[in-house]
């Protein structure tokens, strides 16, 4: 997987699914912790397909053609070809995210520097907000460590109000040009 695809896949996997997609895990050589112990019998909690997720995906397709990009098999194209398009897609995706969301790092520190967990403020004790890596003591009681990734959190989300009957599952309409 190219770095760019990897980055996008990870971002949306985390944003919409709360976890990294399998393809990303494989590409990074990671494995799901405790994946084996998941009891097969327990039915997964029923999650409503979030309207917001569909809408955001629709917006990213509309403004940046992101779905087109993610769904395209790009293995045959040269890096130069991919690069030319990606600049455009990245710029527009970023503008769209900036317009509807405010994203901030969980810890606004310097990556690679020793950082206190308290730098995460109110999120310091949330397991979902800070992932401990390496030699984590058994009680999990850690005060500081090297900041490997600042993390991302959504500070604010403001999606446009949709008209009542909008079909959000249509991410992009088919286009037919009348000659």
């Amino acid at each position: 997987m190219s770095r760019i695809t990897l980055a996008f896949s990870s971002f949306f996997g985390l944003l919409f699914g709360g976890q990294l997609p399998d393809s990303v895990l494989i590409a990074l050589g990671l494995s799901k912790r405790g994946a084996k112990s998941t009891p097969a019998a327990a039915a997964p909690p029923k999650v409503d397909v979030s309207e917001g997720a569909l809408q955001l995906l629709g917006l990213l397709q509309r403004d940046a053609r992101l779905v087109d990009f993610l769904m395209e098999d790009i293995s045959a194209y040269s890096d130069e070809q991919v690069g030319a398009a990606v600049r455009n897609i990245q710029e527009n995706s970023r503008a769209t995210l900036g317009r509807y969301l405010r994203l901030e790092p969980v810890i606004d520190g310097v990556e690679g520097a020793v950082t206190q967990l308290t730098a995460a403020g109110a999120l310091r004790s949330e397991a979902a907000a800070i992932k401990l890596l390496g030699n984590v003591p058994a009680d999990g009681n850690v005060k500081a460590g090297l900041l490997r990734h600042k993390g991302w959190k959504v500070e604010k989300i403001e999606l446009p109000a949709m008209a009542g009957k909008a079909n959000l599952k249509i991410l992009a309409p088919a286009e037919i040009e009348v000659e």
């Binding site: 395209e72 194209y77 398009a85 949709m162």
Partner: protein
């Protein structure tokens, strides 16, 4: 409270002031289906939506659940995909005498069955949107407020009258018209508290305003009147339908020739990218010598269909700077292409793209040389274009011009209009201007008719150039015998170049450079003094406080009848 509206060819803006500071108003508009956002500019486009264009309610505005017309950013965007329903450049049509400007004929290429609108109706739609948006934001309604509305300096009396009519129909009852280059200068004054130290008596300021679709020139003199500085607008240029869009399109056509065939949408994307590339490459000291223009694949295969092309600085300079701003001698006269009989309705675009040639002609006609220059309009954001204009001016002029800078080129006109609103309330200096053309009434010689020959015409000067707002003239020496109750037409002429003719001057024979305008019509309605029969009347002219020229027939009894431009084409 002062409100200024820039009713532009491609974008509208609104600025206001509640005291000293002038602020621009963020205009809520539908930017995408179901999405309303405030933007500083309201694109001057109307989209005539069909049944399948948008989902029900998708174009709702906070103040209107189902707008009849889609206006602004969404109109422009959707219109690029479906040109046949897009109304653009309504303002240029408003000033074009070759059509009936009240007739619903836009878009010209609308498919059969689409309900078209008139240029006046389109202008009305932009103003109604601005007015409703302003009120919906919790401000006082504009209906009773004095609103300053800008028009090109080169707009003639008919185009001004139609603009005022559009405003009235949009519910704006108290509109004052202001010329755009003057507005740009007011904005400069508003931003420079020390402006009196920067310009002084004897200075002559050239204002070059190059917008998306039009180019406008104006000269303002700084005078000393009893120790106080006075500003007077002394010349305005002709209406030139030539602007930044032409330059971007010229670049896009060049790039297109190096790409496989593009569809309309891709051409639109290319056009916009060329504009951005032009601005980046024409910045003085820009480090990059080229910009990559990328057009993403049209279908769902994005990477595979992506097209790229390079636009080099050398190429942009050749096309834009040399193509539109070549060095020309001051004696240069723009070429006037003779148009073959047009088979379809189209705007009279300038046939000579050399803006410098138009500028040379304007300066030569205006006489004395400018000492300062002020730039306005989006094209002049490109630094090398500004530099080229300055070097062209300096080749013609005895002394190098001083550049008055520091302007927000996109919002200056609206801001200046708001400043003028303050000035009208006594909180700022006003530019003395008056009418921007000289107007004449054509009078036929009372000679015996010669078969096959039109009677020679004389021209009576009824409104001299610079005739000020709130003043009038009477012409008792010319009497006309009109039948009460019967329509009569007066032929009206104007000139932007004859600035020396005084009120009452009779030009005989009529000079050829006068331009004929639509005729003015009058039917003397019967009055108590004049119930029927022939009534001898004389003419009187008046320029209203809001800058509109009016003509009257006056009888000896004191009864007056107003003449109206007959802007409708005579049928048959």
């Amino acid at each position: 409270m002062a409100i200024g509206i820039d009713l532009g060819t491609t974008n509208c803006a609104l600025a206001y002031s509640r005291g000293e500071e002038i602020e621009a108003f963020g205009i809520p508009q539908v930017v995408e289906p179901n999405e309303v956002r405030a933007e500083m500019l309201l694109p001057s486009f109307v989209y005539l939506a069909g049944a399948r264009d948008f989902a029900p309610g998708a174009t709702a505005l906070p103040w209107d659940e189902e707008p009849a017309l889609v206006v602004g950013k969404l109109a422009r965007k959707r219109g690029a995909e479906s040109m046949g329903r897009l109304v653009a450049s309504a303002k240029s049509w408003l000033s074009y005498p070759g059509v009936d400007r009240q007739e619903a004929f836009l878009p010209v290429h609308a498919p059969e069955g689409v309900e078209r609108i008139s240029p006046v109706a389109a202008s009305r739609a932009y103003l109604a949107h601005l007015s409703a948006a302003w009120e919906a934001a919790g401000n006082e309604a504009l209906g009773e407020e004095e609103v300053i509305l800008t028009v090109p300096a080169s707009f003639d009396a008919v185009a001004r009258q139609l603009t005022e009519q559009a405003a009235r129909e949009a519910g704006l009852k108290r509109v004052v018209l202001l010329e755009e280059p003057q507005a740009a200068f007011y904005s400069w004054i508003a931003r420079h508290a020390d402006w009196r130290e920067r310009v002084g008596p004897g200075n002559r300021i050239l204002i070059v305003d190059i917008g998306g679709g039009t180019t406008d020139f104006t000269l303002i003199d700084v005078k000393d009147r009893g120790g106080a500085l006075e500003l007077e607008r002394v010349a305005v240029g002709e209406h030139i339908l030539l602007g930044g869009d032409n330059m971007d399109l010229a670049l896009a056509r060049q790039v297109e020739s190096r790409m496989p065939k593009l569809d309309a949408m891709q051409m639109q994307a290319l056009w916009q990218q060329c504009r951005a590339a032009k601005e980046a490459l024409l910045e003085p000291g820009a480090e990059t010598a080229e910009q990559v223009v990328t057009i993403l694949g049209r279908g769902s295969s994005l990477i595979g269909g992506t097209l790229r092309a390079k636009l080099t600085r050398e190429e942009v300079e050749r096309t834009v700077v040399e193509g539109f701003f070549p060095h020309v001698p001051l004696e240069e006269i723009p070429q006037r292409g003779r148009r073959a009989a047009l088979t379809e309705l189209a705007l009279p675009f300038a046939s000579d793209a050399r803006i410098t040639a138009h500028l040379a002609q304007f300066l030569k006609q205006a006489g004395a040389a400018p000492t300062h220059v002020l730039f306005n309009g989006g094209v002049l954001r490109a630094g090398l274009v500004r530099e080229r204009l300055i070097s062209a001016l300096n080749l013609w002029l005895p002394k190098p011009v001083v550049v008055l800078d520091g302007e927000d080129l996109m919002l200056a006109v609206a801001r200046g209009a708001a400043y003028f609103g303050l000035a009208r309330q006594g909180k700022g200096i006003r530019i003395r201007g008056g009418v921007a053309r000289t107007y004449y009434v054509g009078i036929e010689d009372a000679l015996p008719a010669v078969p096959g020959m039109a009677a020679p015409l004389k021209a009576l000067t009824v409104a001299p150039f610079g005739m000020e707002e709130g003043t009038g003239h009477e012409f008792p020496q010319r009497k006309f015998g009109l039948y009460v109750g019967e329509p009569v037409e007066f032929r009206i002429f104007s000139s932007t170049v004859r600035r020396a003719d005084a009120a009452g001057d009779l030009l005989e024979p009529m000079p050829r450079e006068l331009e004929e305008m639509p005729p003015m019509e009058i039917t003397l309605a019967p009055t108590k003094n004049h119930p029927r029969g022939v009534t001898p009347v004389t003419l009187a002219s008046y320029v209203t406080d809001t800058g509109v020229l009016e003509l009257y027939c006056v009888a000896a009894s004191g009864d007056r009848w107003k003449l109206e431009f007959s802007v409708r084409e005579r049928k048959g």
